[in-house]
């Protein structure tokens, strides 16, 4: 079959090739399969839909931790006012598998002695 609109196909492939930075992450396929842990100090936060993002200073490196959307954080008992600048948090979850991307999707958020379990069904 002849391709009727080669220009359209070209534009689509070009769009794929230059696809930009992380926006929203569905599932876990984009992340490393192994669990990892990260401790840092909160620099800035952007909570809410489609999911919250917490920027951390981890020994001078800037990391972004993806936390839940409002219902997931609420279910875990994690409230917005706990994640404010200067708070020391430990994130347990999965790091991005993309080389050089300092991004971790949280399964658990640990503040002080309290663990807020965002994904109780995941190890």
């Amino acid at each position: 079959m002849r391709i009727r609109h080669p220009g359209l196909l070209g534009a689509f492939l070009a769009a794929l090739a230059v696809a930009g930075p992380a926006l929203a992450h569905h599932g876990w396929n984009w992340a490393e399969p192994d669990n990892s842990t990260l401790t840092g100090v909160v620099k800035s936060v952007r909570l809410g839909n489609p999911h919250g993002r917490v920027t951390l200073d981890v020994g001078g490196e800037q990391w972004v931790a993806e936390v839940g959307q409002p219902w997931r954080n609420a279910r875990a008992g994690l409230r917005d006012e706990m994640l404010v600048e200067g708070v020391r948090v430990t994130i347990s979850g999965h790091r991005s598998a993309r080389p050089g991307e300092k991004l971790i999707k949280a399964e658990r958020v640990i503040i002080g002695d309290t663990t807020y379990d965002l994904y109780p069904d995941r190890d």
Binding site: R4, L8, F12, A15, A19, G20, P21, L23, G48, P50
Partner: protein, 159 residues
């Protein structure tokens, strides 16, 4: 300038409300999918007829029955899509895939409006059978545009 506009949208009461809502955001998201389902579900058979499938069935029949669902779905998808954009405007605006998608939506709407205002369309509505080169071209453009738009839209959730 554009960055300030995005920041203003981001700081708006509507954006903040959508962002922190438990139910509204998923409802808007689901309504967006409903709009896409109606649009694509109706436009595929409409375009298939324009391209030449079912030549014995009048184009007017399709225009009367399924075309309003395509148009309604399109309006719903654009309305809810605007609300989804408002939640994180700077993030979407930074993505070439997003702007490609918006360009395709504009192209798809323009293509449909151009066809509706054309002599080819009036003739197609008046006559009962067959298709023409102009209808075939418009139908295949429409099919390519909307299916690519759907794919890019889904892709946005994975970037």
């Amino acid at each position: 300038m554009f960055g300030e506009l995005l920041a203003a949208i981001d700081a708006s009461a509507l954006s903040v409300h959508l962002r922190h809502s438990i139910w509204l955001y998923p409802v808007v998201s689901a309504a967006h999918i409903l709009g896409i389902a109606l649009l694509v579900g109706a436009i595929v058979p409409m375009d298939a007829r324009l391209i030449g499938l079912w030549p014995s069935l009048p184009v007017a029949l399709f225009a009367r029955t399924i075309l309003p669902f395509a148009a309604g779905g399109c309006i719903l998808a654009i309305g809810t899509g605007t609300l989804l954009f408002i939640v994180q405007p700077a993030d979407y605006a930074a993505l070439p895939v997003f702007w490609t998608k918006i360009g395709l939506v504009l192209a798809g709407v323009t293509n449909a409006l151009v066809l509706r205002r054309s002599a080819a369309w009036r003739r197609a509505i008046a006559q009962t059978t067959g298709t023409t080169q102009a209808l075939r071209l418009s139908g295949s453009l429409s099919l390519g545009i909307w299916l690519t738009t759907l794919f890019l839209g889904r892709l946005l959730g994975f970037l």
